[in-house]
Subunit: 193 residues, 2 copies
DNA sequence: CTGACATATATCAGACCGATACAAACCGAG
DNA sequence: CTCGGTTTGTATCGGTCTGATATATGTCAG
C-alpha cells in the first residue's frame, strides 16, 4: 500500500491539504489503521497532480499560513478503487514498546513498570483522541464496523495492561542490575547441527 | 528501532542464522511485536560482525544447505541494552485490510464479507502459530506478560470479527456497484477556510 | 518581545521493503 | 527416476519510505 493510495483514500471523504492528511493518520480516524509521514505525503500529492488523480488550489486562511487544498478527481476515484482490489498484505505491527518489554526480564523491574505505565498512558491518549473526535454519529455500517474494531482493540489493550500490571509488582525477585544477567539463558554452543 | 537492534534482540536468546532470525519475526515469537525483512537482516548482520557485536561460523547440516550461525558478543549485549534505554516510539500499525475495509461502504457487500473472512482466517493462523510453538512453559514473568498480551489481542480481534460479521449480512441495502457512489459524502466546496 | 507552540510546505540522506536471483536438498506424482 | 513444487538458506538492488531538518506565518502567554 503506497503513499499515493493512502492519500487518495484520505481525499475520498473530503478535500484536504498535506498537513490535514497527515493529521488523519496521526491522531485522526486512520491512526489505528495505518501510518504515513510527511516525507511520503508531499511527494505523493505531487504525483497525484501529475496523473490528474487530484486537483489543487491555494486557500488563504485568516490567522494561519496559506494551504494547498487537494481534491480527488473521477479518474482518481477509479484509480483508488482499482488499488483497493489487490489482495491486502497481512497486518504489520511495529511496537518498540513490546519489543523492549519482551526483554524486561533483563531490566530492573522498576524500569519495566515505568514502561508499562507509559504504554498505558499512550493508549489512554489514543482512546481519548477517538472520543474527542466523536465521529460516532451516523457512520455508514462498514465504517462503523471498522471504527468499533479499533475502539475494542484499544480498550482490550488498556484493560490487559491495567489488570496484569499488578502481577509484575508482586512477582518473585527481579533482575537488580542490567550489567549482570544470569547465564542460564545464554546458549553459546551445542544444540544446533 | 533499526534492524541492527532487532537482530541483536533475536540473538539475545539464542544464536541464529539470518533465515532463522527472519522466522522469529514471521510466525515466531516476535511476529505480534515487530516486522523486519531479509533485505534489512542480512546487511545488519554484516554490520554486527564489523562492530564485533556478533561472531559468525558456518554450520554444516545433514539434508539442508549450510548456514551461517551468528552469536552475540558481550560488547553486543552491552550495545543492545544501551539501545533499549531510549524512549520507545508509539506503536505503529499497518493494516491494509482495515484500510480497505474502511472504504467498504463503497464496495459490494459480498466483497466486504470475503475480506472479513480472509481477515478472520489470517488471525486464526496467527493464533495457531502461537499455540503450535507452545512457548508457554515456564516463561520468565515479563516475557509471559508480553506473550499473553499478544494472545489476548489476537483473541479479541477474532471474537470481534466473528460476532460483528453477522451485522454486515443483516444490514440495510449495500452499494451495489463500485462504479457509482452516492455523492452525499463528496464535499467539493465550502466548509473550509 | 521573546520563546514556545500550532499550522503549513518541502527536501534529503539514510534506512528499509519487496522482489528477485541463486543454490542445495527434500518429496510426491506421473 | 525425473519433473516440478516446497523448504531451507544467502545475498543484492531499485524504488520507496522515514525521520530529521529547514523555512515561514501566525497565536498566545509571561
Amino acid at each position: 500500500m503506497d503513499a499515493k493510495t493512502l492519500c487518495l483514500g484520505a481525499l475520498m471523504h473530503n478535500e484536504a491539504s498535506g498537513y490535514e492528511i497527515r493529521k488523519l493518520f496521526e491522531g485522526g480516524p486512520f491512526s489505528a489503521i495505518y501510518d504515513v509521514s510527511f516525507g511520503s505525503i508531499y511527494p505523493a500529492l505531487t504525483v497525484l497532480l501529475d496523473r490528474e488523480w487530484a486537483t489543487c488550489c491555494v486557500a488563504e486562511q485568516n490567522g494561519r499560513p496559506d494551504k494547498k487544498v487537494y481534491s480527488i478527481t473521477q479518474a482518481g476515484r477509479a484509480a483508488f478503487l482499482e488499488a483497493l482490489s489487490t489482495t491486502p498484505a497481512p497486518d504489520k505491527m511495529r511496537s518498540e514498546m513490546l519489543f523492549i518489554l519482551s526483554f524486561g526480564d533483563h531490566l530492573p523491574r522498576a524500569d519495566v513498570l515505568a514502561l508499562v505505565d507509559r504504554y498505558i498512558a499512550d493508549y489512554e491518549d489514543r482512546l481519548s483522541d477517538i472520543h474527542d473526535r466523536d465521529d460516532d454519529h451516523e457512520l455508514p455500517p462498514v465504517r462503523r464496523f471498522v471504527h468499533n474494531f479499533g475502539i475494542t482493540m484499544y480498550e482490550t489493550a488498556l484493560e490487559y495492561l491495567r489488570t496484569h500490571r499488578t502481577v509484575l509488582t508482586e512477582e518473585t525477585a527481579p533482575a537488580q542490575s542490567n550489567a549482570r544477567q544470569s547465564d542460564e539463558h545464554v546458549v553459546t554452543a551445542g544444540g544446533v547441527q
